[in-house]
Amino acid sequence: MGKDRLLPILALLILLTASGSSFYVYATQTTTDTLLVNGQRYTIDQLFSLAQPRVLNDSQYNGIALDDLMLKTGVSHPEQHTYTLRGADNYEKTVSWDNMKNGLLTKNRESIFSDLPNAFRVKDIVTIEVK
């Protein structure tokens, strides 16, 4: 059998894999009004009342300071940890304490860092894990 005859079979397998992954993503998508920060659940309003406000890029982005949020939620020796921000779609990014000092959490539960590229803008955050 010529290699090119394998093409339709491979194409079918790809469509099945991609469709299966789409169903998996849809089924595992989290919907919650709260955020799990350092093992404790908070609403976004509770977090905004806890931490200091922060503004980035000449007031383009407003929110609360991620480093202050970690301190207020009980993280000790913060520079010894890394922080994983996870979205409802399971997109996650791990950052250092230095990054957290340049980051904010918006009211829409999105992370923005002045020292990191757009790929670190995790949308609809459901968990901030301290490692």
Partner: protein
């Protein structure tokens, strides 16, 4: 001996792809359209298929990716532009490997089933490959460093996101094969002026756009 026509082909196709990534891709993103899938499914796969069917030369798409990626360096906007440039280069290499791996240059004509299948396979692998390269390189080039667990957790989304690109590719590749049947070959005396002119226009627009954005 260097085939000048082949080199000119690499430059013009690479310039068109790079121009599309820098200018048209930005317009798609601004309009909240699925820019990645559209860019890969229509422009990247369309241009690479057209060049491969036309020249039947292994290695050409790697060169096209290098030229398109180089042009992306001149448009330093939209996140990690260096990662995007490297991802474009990787996409060219992947296309080349798929086409060569399936020995598709040996047949002059392909059945419609094979054209559609080729569209799905090449677009999906090129899109997912480019996506993976970007996900790995962006943290590497940033101060946050790469964490494998972040990538593993997002693999199902990456595999799912390639579906739209693959479906677009299943249409664009047969369309390119149909276009190729119409004889679009340029007369020899027009070949170099047209390829050099088109390439120069693409580079000129991208560089002017960059200067315009930086100064404004």
């Amino acid at each position: 001996m260097i085939n000048k026509k082949f080199i000119a082909g690499i430059i013009v196709f690479g310039s068109l792809w790079g121009f599309a990534e820098c200018i048209i891709g930005s317009l798609f993103r601004d309009a909240n359209l699925p820019a990645g899938a559209l860019m890969t499914g229509i422009f990247a796969i369309g241009l690479m298929t057209l060049s491969r069917v036309g020249f039947r030369q292994p290695g050409m798409q790697t060169g096209i990716g290098l030229v398109a990626g180089a042009l992306r360096f001149f448009n330093p906007f939209g996140g990690c532009f260096m990662c995007s440039a490297i991802a474009i280069m990787a996409e060219g290499l992947l296309f080349d490997l798929i086409w060569t791996g399936f020995s598709l240059d040996s047949k002059k004509t392909q059945s419609l089933t094979n054209q559609v299948s080729l569209g799905i396979v090449s677009t999906y692998f090129v899109y997912v490959g480019g996506y993976l390269v970007t996900q790995i390189l962006t943290p590497v080039f940033s101060s946050a460093s790469f964490h494998l667990e972040n990538l593993i957790a997002f693999i199902p989304q990456i595999l799912a996101s390639g579906l739209l690109a693959a479906l677009i590719g299943s249409v664009s590749v047969p369309v390119v094969f149909s276009v190729k049947r119409i004889d679009l070959a340029l007369k020899d005396r027009l070949y170099y002026p047209v390829t050099i002119g088109v390439s120069a226009v693409c580079w000129g627009i991208v560089i002017t756009n960059t200067i315009f954005i930086v100064w404004m």
